[in-house]
């Protein structure tokens, strides 16, 4: 990701439209990078950092934005998505901030991007080991639902005391015969910590297992980061006699006809239709198919 020239380039503030290069000051970047290094060294460990005030409201991607701006280098190509969509307002404004304050290339094609900031999805194209994925995280701790005291939750993580998460899973299977997690499915990282795969759908969870890319999770409001290094085991927790199931769809995408993608609901020609959530890939497939 970083050549020596990039490092030099990054160390020196360049003023684009009145801001420091990559918006954050050098001390902030260093602090966030140190937290990220620790997070990568201890996969799945929730690492606190000094979350800054950002020009987006907390809860709107301030954590992901800080991680992106602290790790970006001049040679990066950036893609920003929200629910798989490059053109949602939130994605557009953050992409503009990143591009304007650094001058890096932007892309919608995930295969061309080296730094992808995302909320809710992992791009469906194959990503390689040059890619860094930055997740915007609303709630970092999978124990939060069951244990609100941070001191108690930290002890539980340290002792791998995850009975309450299993209890939630037991309740779901007892009452509904299946797990109710639609997103943020709890996963064990490298046989150790349980993380919240937040907030991606179950559909994307298997792609984290032994992924070639680096996943960085940033929670701005909670001032916490965590990470999954490349080629790490990520196992969705489930009972030994219950399969982990991903969402399945009974129709293909109404726009590109894909049968293997995650669909969302949209109005197409005045009708409700199921279409690809990954808009960039959908558009490319439509173009490949040619005009109807």
């Amino acid at each position: 990701m970083s050549a020596l020239s990039d490092l030099l380039h990054r160390a020196e503030p360049i003023h684009i439209s009145g801001y420091l290069w990559a918006y954050l000051d050098a001390a902030s970047k260093r602090e966030i990078r140190r937290a990220l290094l620790k997070a990568v060294c201890i996969p799945g460990h929730i690492t606190p950092f000094a979350s800054r005030e950002m020009p987006v409201a907390r809860g709107w991607g301030s954590g992901g934005l800080q991680v992106t701006l602290a790790t970006i280098v001049a040679s990066d190509t950036v893609k920003v998505i929200d629910q798989g969509d490059d053109e949602s307002l939130n994605a557009r404004t953050m992409r503009a901030l990143i591009a304007d304050s650094t001058g890096v290339e932007t892309a919608t094609d995930a295969r061309a991007a080296t730094l992808i900031q995302t909320r809710h999805r992992i791009p469906e194209d194959d990503l390689d080991d040059r890619t860094v994925l930055v997740f915007q995280v609303p709630i970092s701790d999978p124990l939060r639902e069951f244990e609100q005291r941070p001191t108690a939750a930290r002890r539980m993580h340290a002792e791998r005391d995850y009975a309450v998460i299993w209890l939630g899973l037991y309740e779901d299977h007892a009452r509904f015969s299946r797990s109710r997690f639609s997103h943020s499915y709890p996963c064990e990282v490298e046989g150790g910590y349980i993380i919240s795969t937040t907030p991606i759908p179950r559909f994307d969870v298997p792609r984290l297992h032994q992924a070639p890319f680096l996943s960085l999770f940033g929670a701005g409001r909670e001032a916490a980061v965590y990470a999954i290094p490349p080629y790490t085991d990520v196992t969705p927790i489930t009972f030994t006699d219950r399969e982990f199931e991903i969402e399945s769809f009974d129709t293909p995408c109404a726009k590109c006809g894909a049968e293997d993608s995650y669909l969302t609901e949209e109005i197409v020609n005045g009708r409700r239709a199921a279409v690809c959530s990954d808009t960039a890939r959908c558009r490319r497939r439509q173009a490949e198919k040619g005009p109807r």
Partner: protein, 252 residues
């Protein structure tokens, strides 16, 4: 000589300058029931807290099936509690999660000790749920919808599901009406005989102790003032405090 399920030696607990209990020693053999009586503040619950690994003794030793519990810390300590010790408290909400189903509350101890097969867990929970005579068809209902007596039954099921070596009961029937109380005590006695679990029961109600306990400790101001076989202590009390306690019982 078998190894006692629970061994307490010269147990002392201080809360800052206040004495919780001093120099308490007793054994409970597998299948035996020990009662502890005494007035409020006499140190009964302190002793039980140390046996249940909730409290750290200031001095003295607590051994579970011959194993010194002071050396067991962190995750191992939690595992020991979930596996080898069952606890039933007076206030059910201290032990149970009211928003979680009865089955879930019982299953939690299995989940905490590494059980991961849903069918197997479900079968064990179902068996013990019916053993404590809870109504069929309510197993997946939240404990918050259960009556006081039913909550005590859920606690008993939760305590016994892991097949513990020691069952600790802290005023298990206090606050229940007398008919429910009698049925719960019957249940406890039946399950204790059936499983052969070692049991320590704390109560200020001598009728409860007389019904369940083989042996008895009488505590006052943190110390044991009299100990012996239950029938002997209650029919022929020797210490003045025990005499007072026995004569204070209301006759119906």
């Amino acid at each position: 000589m078998t190894t006692p399920a629970l061994e307490v030696r010269e147990l002392t607990v201080r809360y800052g300058g206040t004495l919780g209990c001093a120099d308490i020693s007793f054994d409970v053999q597998p299948g035996e029931v020990l009662g502890i009586v005494g007035e409020s503040g006499s140190g009964k619950s302190t002793v039980l807290g140390c046996c249940g690994l909730d409290l750290q003794p200031t001095a003295g030793v607590v051994r579970l099936s011959g194993r010194d519990t002071a050396a067991v810390v962190g995750a191992q300590r939690r595992r020991l509690r979930n596996q080898d010790i069952g606890i039933v408290r007076q206030a059910a909400h201290e032990e149970l999660r009211l928003g979680i189903s009865a089955g879930g509350n019982i299953a939690e101890r299995l989940l905490a000790t590494g059980h991961r097969g849903f069918q197997a867990i479900r079968a064990r929970v179902d068996r013990v749920y019916h053993e404590v005579e809870l109504p069929a068809g309510r197993m997946d209902a939240a404990v918050a919808t259960f009556s006081g007596g039913m909550r005590q039954r859920v606690q008993i099921a939760r305590a016994l599901v892991s097949e513990p070596a020691v069952l600790l009961l802290d005023e298990p029937t206090t606050g229940l009406d007398v008919s429910v109380q009698a049925r719960i005590l019957d249940l406890i006695r039946r399950l204790q005989r059936q499983t052969g679990v070692a049991m320590v029961i704390v109560s200020h109600d001598l009728a409860v102790i007389r019904m369940l306990a083989d042996r008895l400790l009488v505590m006052r101001q943190g110390r044991v003032v009299e100990a012996g076989v239950t029938d002997r202590v209650l029919s022929d009390p020797r210490h003045p405090y025990t005499q007072l306690l026995v004569s204070s019982q209301l006759e119906v």
